[in-house]
């Protein structure tokens, strides 16, 4: 497991233990990765984050077009793997979770414990810090630091 924000680690570890999920990715609504478990390559995690955030953004827009409340959860169950994608509110803004699970668990368990993860994150989140100006000279260093935190290199 790799996390950018240390306070995410406890709730995420509890979720992984209880849900038996194979892969988990937490990201902001814009696709910025906050934590990941199970991914081994940076390319995979970036692509999954972008696709996951895009899918939820699309469902949000479909709901808006249909004058329906936002659709916060998407689930897909294949023969070998299932995918669960859900948005939730945190004190740090709207986040998205992508969970990949196998037949050793179930959609119901993933859904149940993901709800608890969202609640635990809301409780664990420290107060939002004022966002600093992103300067070009800092950008590369910050990006590299985030990648090191997520992939350990």
């Amino acid at each position: 497991m790799r996390v950018i924000e240390p306070w995410v680690e406890g709730p995420l570890r509890a979720f992984l233990n209880e849900s038996a999920a194979r892969l988990t990715l937490l990201m902001t609504a814009s696709g910025q990765v906050v934590a990941q478990h199970g991914f081994t390559r940076s390319l995979d995690v970036m692509a999954a984050a972008a696709l996951g955030a895009g899918i939820l953004a699309s469902t949000f827009e479909i709901a808006r077009l249909m004058d329906s409340p936002p659709l916060d959860e998407v689930a897909h169950e294949g023969t070998r793997l299932g995918f669960y994608l859900a948005g939730f509110e945190t004190p740090r803004g709207r986040w998205v979770g992508l969970v990949v699970f196998g037949p050793e668990t179930s959609l119901g368990l993933v859904q149940l414990f993901f709800g608890r993860l969202a609640a635990d994150l809301a409780l664990a989140a420290p107060a939002a810090e004022p966002s600093g100006q992103v300067l070009a000279e800092n950008f590369e260093g910050e990006l590299n630091a985030s990648l090191r935190a997520l992939f350990g290199r």
């Binding site: 169950e77 179930s106 959609l107 119901g108 368990l109 859904q111 149940l112 709800g115």
Partner: protein, 114 residues
């Protein structure tokens, strides 16, 4: 018989706090009739998991699949009957319920939910 009627046959027994029809493989609620304070989503997810493991256990032992699961706890009990379709009919009860009556009602409900 509708799923609502199926559940009503279980919930009318004194001491039953709620009844659900659960998709065994997914652990999701198909239908529910629960008293306030009973988290149907949690009951469905956890019962689906336990019932699935019991099926795996009996299969590994070479025994026939179970028809009914009964978990007795200090403050209540959980009973689940396996329907042939893969659905589970589940009851959450108080500790002093007539367990025999609940088991009979669940097995009959499982036949209707097949």
């Amino acid at each position: 018989m509708s799923l609502a009627d199926t559940l009503a046959a279980v919930t009318r027994i004194p001491g039953v706090r709620g009844a659900l029809v659960v998709s065994g493989r997914d652990g999701l609620v198909v239908a529910e009739a629960l008293m306030e304070g009973v988290d149907g989503r949690a009951v469905a997810a956890l019962t689906g998991s336990v019932a699935g493991r019991m099926l795996g256990l009996t299969g590994a032992l070479g025994a026939p699949p179970p028809a009914l699961l009964h978990l007795q706890a200090a403050e209540g009990a959980l009973l689940a009957a396996y329907a042939p379709s893969g659905l589970l009919v589940v009851a959450v009860t108080a500790p002093d319920v007539n367990a025999g009556e609940v088991r009979l009602a669940l097995l009959q409900a499982a036949e209707h939910a097949a």
